[in-house]
Each structure stands twice: as structure tokens, then as C-alpha cells.
Symmetry: C2
């Protein structure tokens, strides 16, 4: 399947590499695709990423990545997500599933981060409002990157991932992909895109748990 990823930091790189490994046709979108040797945040350089995918993964502009994808994944930092998706082009998102992994974390005032939007709105809703003809599915934003693509890394995979979105078919499709691509066993459908408030607002306790436990290698399980 053709996948376009918007954002080439550690989240975009990790998801992209895993999807290439799963046999998907991946284009990783970035602001400056010509700068293949620059290090990207916590990820490596995009040249290293391409090598890691045995030269199967491609690097291109946001626009080219979005145009390429049957499904588009937003892996940008939350503070720049709407702008990055606008640069990708609304016409390249319309009618498609957009998997939104971003979180509205504001690090500008130091640690711990606060949220740029919460409580009566969410970044998931902002993205859905900005692109009303795309089917936004918020998911994977409640755990560290390596667990997103390999839930078996902690507690044998016995924990949860959530989906939020207005379109039931889009959520069902993403649920199936989370299981097939990454091995998620238990995906909880929280409801419409307003439920993204809940998963984004879990970030403050997530950040504090990282501090308290001394590791980001944990995830939430809804124990029943």
C-alpha cells in the first residue's frame, strides 16, 4: 500500500522504517528533502534512514508524500501539524484516512511541557476542522515511539492503544492496520474525534511517569 508520512523526526522515521519492513511503499515527507545528511531531532539523518530501509524508503517534500499516500500519517510535532499538513496540500488529503499521531506539546516554557490546546478542544479536532474532507483518526499518541511499532516491547504487548475519529469505517481500517503492521492486540475505539482530548490530555501524566519510572518504556493498560 502507498503510505505518505508527513514529518521526518524520530516518529516519522520509526514508523516509516517499520512500514517498509512490512512491505509498504513509503514516502517520508520532510521540509528540506535535499538535506539528506542533516540529523533530524532525536532521529538520525534521512540518508541513514534510507539506508536502513535498504533504499526502499523514499524521501520527498510534504506535498509529494501526501500525494503518494493512499493513507497519510501525520508524524509532525503538534505545534506545527496544521501548517505542515497545509503545506502538504488539502487536495492531497481529501477523501483519505489521515492517521494523526501528533501531540500538542509546548516545550517553550521548559519541562514539563504544557499543552497548546486541551480540555474543550484538541489538536485532533483542529486538524479535522482544518481538513474537513479528510478522515482524521487520532491514534498511537499515548506511548513512546518504539512501543508504537512494537507493543511487545513492554508487558508482552498486554496494554492498549486508542482510536478517535468521526468516520467508523476509517477507524475500523486503522484498527486493522495497527494489528497487522505493528502487532497491536487490543485497540479501543473511544468515539468521535472529540475523544482525542482524552488521549492528548493523558500526555501530562505520561511525561511525569517517565520521570517517576526513569524510563519511557511503559504504556497504559485499561485493566478490567
Amino acid at each position: 500500500m502507498k503510505i505518505g508520512i508527513i514529518g521526518s523526526g524520530v516518529v516519522g522515521q520509526t514508523i516509516g522504517a517499520k512500514l517498509v519492513e512490512r512491505g509498504e511503499d513509503v514516502v517520508l515527507g520532510t521540509r528540506s528533502p535535499q538535506k539528506l545528511e542533516d540529523k533530524r531531532g532525536m532521529g538520525g539523518s534521512l540518508g541513514e534512514w534510507v539506508k536502513k530501509t535498504n533504499n526502499k524508503g523514499r524521501v520527498a517534500t510534504f506535498q509529494e508524500a501526501a500525494r503518494h499516500g493512499e493513507i497519510v500519517i501525520n508524524a509532525t510535532a503538534g505545534t506545527g501539524s496544521v501548517e505542515a499538513l497545509k503545506a502538504a496540500g488539502e487536495q492531497n488529503l481529501n477523501g483519505k484516512i489521515v492517521i494523526d499521531i501528533s501531540n500538542p506539546l509546548d516545550f517553550s516554557k521548559g519541562m514539563p511541557p504544557s499543552l497548546t490546546v486541551c480540555n474543550t478542544d484538541s489538536l485532533g479536532e483542529q486538524v479535522q476542522r482544518a481538513f474537513p474532507k479528510a478522515n482524521i483518526v487520532k491514534t498511537l499518541n499515548t506511548m513512546t515511539t518504539v512501543i508504537m511499532v512494537d507493543p511487545s516491547q513492554v508487558a508482552g504487548g498486554d496494554h492498549h492503544v486508542f482510536v478517535s475519529g468521526n468516520d467508523a469505517a476509517a477507524k475500523a481500517r486503522v484498527t486493522e492496520l495497527l494489528k497487522r503492521w505493528f502487532g497491536w492486540r487490543d485497540v479501543i475505539d473511544l468515539g468521535d474525534i472529540t475523544t482525542a482530548r482524552g488521549t492528548e490530555m493523558i500526555l501530562p501524566i505520561w511525561v511525569r511517569l517517565w520521570g517517576a519510572l526513569g524510563t519511557p518504556m511503559f504504556n497504559f493498560k485499561v485493566a478490567r
Copy 2:
């Protein structure tokens, strides 16, 4: 031990009854202690509560309950917590551990509730600022009432409760009490009282999980 509970709704009643059962000397504080036969929110009447405790639990004013308690428990609705604790009397809280179970839920605009404070502040911090000589320990605010006092009700008790507070000794004491009183096995110390932002901001996903699962009988486990 002498325990004063501020708030006589379902949380105060449930915790109070369990503490009487555990042999503690409990005074349940309420705004109108003379109205023993009125039903209290989702709880029963206070007359029924007294009977349920085999007449060992007592009902009194907020002031009398706080004065009685070596430890004071805030079990009021979050929107009225600071006011209720002021009515209980700052001099009756100073130097004591105040276990704060309240959540800043605002139901005035319908369901789902929003929070009256979040992100860069929390109700736990507001309470601590209002009573600087009390040791506020935020805990038990992330699950439904029956699970607070009996974690074995779901998943054999294999899930978590958090504590937030500025005083390490107070948190250690409350941790020990959570284990002894209610059977909690795994208590996570998140850090100072600002970490109450994290546990209070978990409420939006908690409310949506209740809707998605059709039951409040679940709790968060930090899977590692």
C-alpha cells in the same frame, strides 16, 4: 486512627464505611448534618450510612470532622472543594495530611464534563496553595469509587494508583494507608503536587472509556 472526611456524597460515604470496617474512628462531615434522611447525590441518606456502619460512623459538620481527624480526606466535588475546606477551618487542617480525592469536573455544560482547571495548574495545587500549612496528597482520583476501596474488583487488583504531593513523608504515610486500608498493591509516586495535573487530566479519557466500555469498572495500569 481518627479520620475526618469532608464531603458526604458517594465517595465520602464509601470511603467512610470502609474505614469504619477497618476499625478507624470516622467522622463524616457534611453541610447539613441534621438532615440525616435526605438522599445524597449517588449515595444514600446519611441515616442509612450510619446504620451501614453499625452506628459506629458519625455524621457532623465540616468543622467537626476536620477537627476530629488526625488525617482529613477531601471527598467533595472539585468545584466546591476549596470552599468546603475553608468551611472546615484552616486551623483544623494545619500540620495534617489532607488526602485529596476531588476532581475539577465541570458538568455545567452537559456531558462530557470539562475541567475547571488544568494544564498549567490543578485543583490539587489550588488546595495546597489555599492551605499552605497542610500536607496535601492527591490520590484515588483516577478510578470509580468502588475500586478506590477495593482494587481487587477489577483485574485481580493488578493496576495502579498514584500519589502526588510536596511532602515525602506524607506521601509515604498515605501509600502505606492505601495498602493497609484498601489493599492497593502498587502505588506510584509521581512527584510533587504539580503532578496532580497529570492525574486530574486523565479524567477526560476516563469518562470516554466509561462510555466506550459501557462500565466504570476499569482502572489504569502502567504496563512495563
